[in-house]
């Protein structure tokens, strides 16, 4: 009952004209980002983050969250109408969705994806409210030793679950930890890696790194080629699926919602993994799996529901534990820190109004998005006619303004450009940037917890295995590492044997 009372309080906070306007703005920007290929939600949130510096935490976070789940709605439009996914989690939607569009059922596909996304968004938010508050209550028992183990486990989970190449993901994480040590050290106040540059004394700003490696590098990759997109035209009245089709897909929507939410409660598995998993589930439970790939409605409804529920799922560890589950939630977590809030279990105690207002806004945001993504789809689809060549200079200008706003200096702009080059080549070499970003965010927290835990135990490392929660978390890391190590060795052995044959 507490959750419902708190949620009602959250509605009271977020139902002000300004907060509602922020939800509408976020939903609009998210839908646009989802529709336009070449810029994902993480990059857009990173670019917009510095512009929200002067705002209060609640409206700023309402806007950023709406942008995140709005992108999940919008992504399906481009996948279905053009066969070009607007963002990564809509890749799988293109497989069935575009086939349906070619059969003259674009409206059915768009409608099913919007209805599935709406249902998943609402159910996911209910799940988030109940799970995050329970988990946060439990994690209030955590001391420095538990926090250290938890941060470490969060980082390893992100790498093992989400990373394509474990070695490169680990390298990315190590570099992020290294970047996190730049600045004044917390123990003795000594300078590390600063070389007399005063701008580095406070460390490397998260916004600079995220705008460079996510924002500009993504623009550079998209700007490599001239992009020309011609979307299919859809009539207004064709946008609504029949009641029969919607009822037919009810189980797919429900399955997608459950898969997306629960999978993404685990750090590392973002909406992309959830949508692929949901597609796999739909194929395996289908009576006619051979038809998949030719335009099957469940293949659109399931994954689209899944990627929306995944957004709420990924926010569970972020709100409850202060651990980002994906690149996008890392940006949101960075936002929390920038707005002066302390992410982690204490957020529910010290800033309860804020947390519940953001959660309540997600119900409202989903209602706004269903309106934007059903009757307004033709309007948004027409945005695809704007040449990308006109869009990316504007994005780059906003990046420059954002980096300048961090410390009102051009040094930060230069640093962002250097990170952009690094990010671009990291993308080219399949080195994921997300672990680096998360390590930069969580590295100082990890170092502080290690320092506090060892101080309390008079330097004894045994504190990490003597405390049951910490020991359990460390055991999970060891088990995960063993599993990944053995799997990798087996893979290599099989490859060598194959080569010898």
């Amino acid at each position: 009952m507490d959750v419902i009372t708190n949620l009602m309080g959250g509605f009271a906070t977020c139902l002000t004209p300004y907060n509602l306007w922020m939800a509408v703005l976020g939903a609009f920007l998210g839908t646009m980002v989802g529709i336009l290929p070449g810029l994902g939600p993480s990059a857009t949130m990173a670019i917009i983050l510095p512009i929200t510096f002067g705002m209060d935490a609640t409206p700023a976070m309402i806007m950023l969250c709406a942008l995140y789940y709005g992108a999940m709605y919008g992504g399906s439009t481009t996948s279905i109408l053009v066969n070009v996914p607007g963002e990564a989690s809509s890749v799988v939607t293109a497989i069935e969705g575009h086939q349906l569009a070619r059969q003259g059922k674009a409206g059915t596909a768009l409608g099913l994806s919007a209805i599935g996304s709406f249902f998943a968004g609402i159910m996911g938010t209910i799940g988030l409210a109940f799970t995050a508050s329970t988990l946060a209550e439990f994690s209030l028992k955590f001391g420095p030793a538990e926090m250290f183990s938890l941060v470490l486990m969060g980082m390893f989970t992100i790498i093992y679950v989400g990373g394509k190449d474990v070695t490169k993901s680990l390298m990315s994480m190590a570099i992020g930890l290294g970047l996190g040590t730049v600045g004044t050290d917390i123990v003795q106040g000594k300078e590390r890696f600063t070389y007399g540059i005063s701008e580095l004394l406070d460390g490397i700003d998260f916004v600079i790194l995220v705008m460079g490696t996510f924002g500009i590098s993504e623009v550079l990759e998209s700007a490599e080629e001239f992009m020309k997109i011609v979307p299919m035209k859809v009539k207004f009245w064709d946008l609504f699926p029949s009641w029969k089709d919607t009822w037919y897909c009810r189980w797919a929507i429900l399955r997608g919602t459950c898969v997306g939410f629960f999978i993404c409660c685990v750090p590392g598995s973002g909406p992309t993994i959830a949508s692929f998993l949901s597609y796999g589930v739909e194929k395996s439970v289908s009576k006619y799996p051979e038809r998949f790939g030719t335009g099957v409605m469940e293949g659109v409804a399931g994954p689209e529901s899944s990627n929306n529920a995944a957004v709420s799922g990924a926010m569970v560890p972020m709100f409850a534990l202060g651990i980002p589950g994906s690149g996008a939630t890392a940006v949101l977590l960075g936002g929390l820190i920038l707005y002066g809030l302390k992410p982690g279990p204490m957020l529910f105690v010290e800033n309860a109004d804020f947390v519940w207002a953001v959660m309540a806004s997600m119900f409202i945001g989903n209602c706004i998005l269903i309106v934007m993504n059903l009757p307004l789809v033709p309007v948004f689809a027409s945005l695809l006619r704007i040449p990308y060549g006109l869009i990316y200079p504007a994005i780059l200008i906003i990046c420059i303004v954002g980096a300048y706003a961090v410390a009102t200096g051009l040094f930060e702009v230069g640093m962002m450009l250097i990170f952009a080059i690094c990010g671009y080549f990291m993308k080219k070499g399949d080195v994921p940037a997300a672990p680096m970003l998360m390590a930069l965010l969580m590295g100082p927290m990890m170092e502080r917890s290690l320092y506090q835990a060892l101080n309390l135990s008079h330097g004894s490392m045994l504190v990490f295995i003597q405390r049951p929660i910490s020991a359990t978390l460390l055991s999970i890391i060891v088990l995960m590492s063993l599993y990944v190590g053995i799997r990798s060795l087996r893979g290599k052995k099989a490859a060598i044997e194959e080569a010898e044959e």
Partner: protein, 153 residues
């Protein structure tokens, strides 16, 4: 990708050495707790081990599909990316002298004219429009304090 992995491995080893050198001039431990050199030292060790593994693996692994991917893009794409980056660096260096609106107008015009092949008139038009909107929102409304150039704006 094999070649790329070797390059990343060497860069990783360089970064590891850098971390080690930085940690060596700082205290590794204080009385009970890790000192300022603790974290850079272990970051260096982890990076060195991973980089070494990446290099070794690039020599011993069987050539797969991912090894066909190239680190550098095609020539024309590389030209576009380099040009954009060059212009962005030029913006950073010239903003102090030219001022915020003029730099952004020149930047947009240059991108549209040289890379997107718009006509001179359209490029200049878009350049002025983008710059004016950005200046109005961020300087006039939000007073962000961007550098003023020789024109005084």
């Amino acid at each position: 990708m094999r070649k790329a992995d070797r390059i990343y491995g060497v860069i990783g080893l360089g970064l590891a050495l850098w971390c080690y050198l930085e940690s060596s001039r700082l205290d590794y431990m204080t009385e009970f707790t890790p000192g300022p050199g603790f974290m850079p030292f272990w970051v260096g060790v982890v990076l060195a081990v991973l980089s070494f593994y990446l290099i070794i693996d690039s020599f011993v692994r069987k050539s797969g599909k991912k090894d066909e991917t190239k680190l550098l893009p095609e020539k024309h794409a590389l030209y576009r990316v380099s040009a954009i980056m060059g212009m962005l660096f030029a913006v950073t260096f010239s903003m102090k002298f030219l001022g915020f609106p003029l730099t952004l107008a020149l930047f947009t015009t240059a991108i549209l004219l040289l890379l997107e092949h718009y006509s001179v008139l359209k490029s200049v038009g878009y350049g002025i429009a983008y710059s004016a909107v950005t200046w109005f929102v961020f300087e006039y409304v939000l007073s962000m304090g961007f550098p003023k150039g020789f024109l005084g704006i």
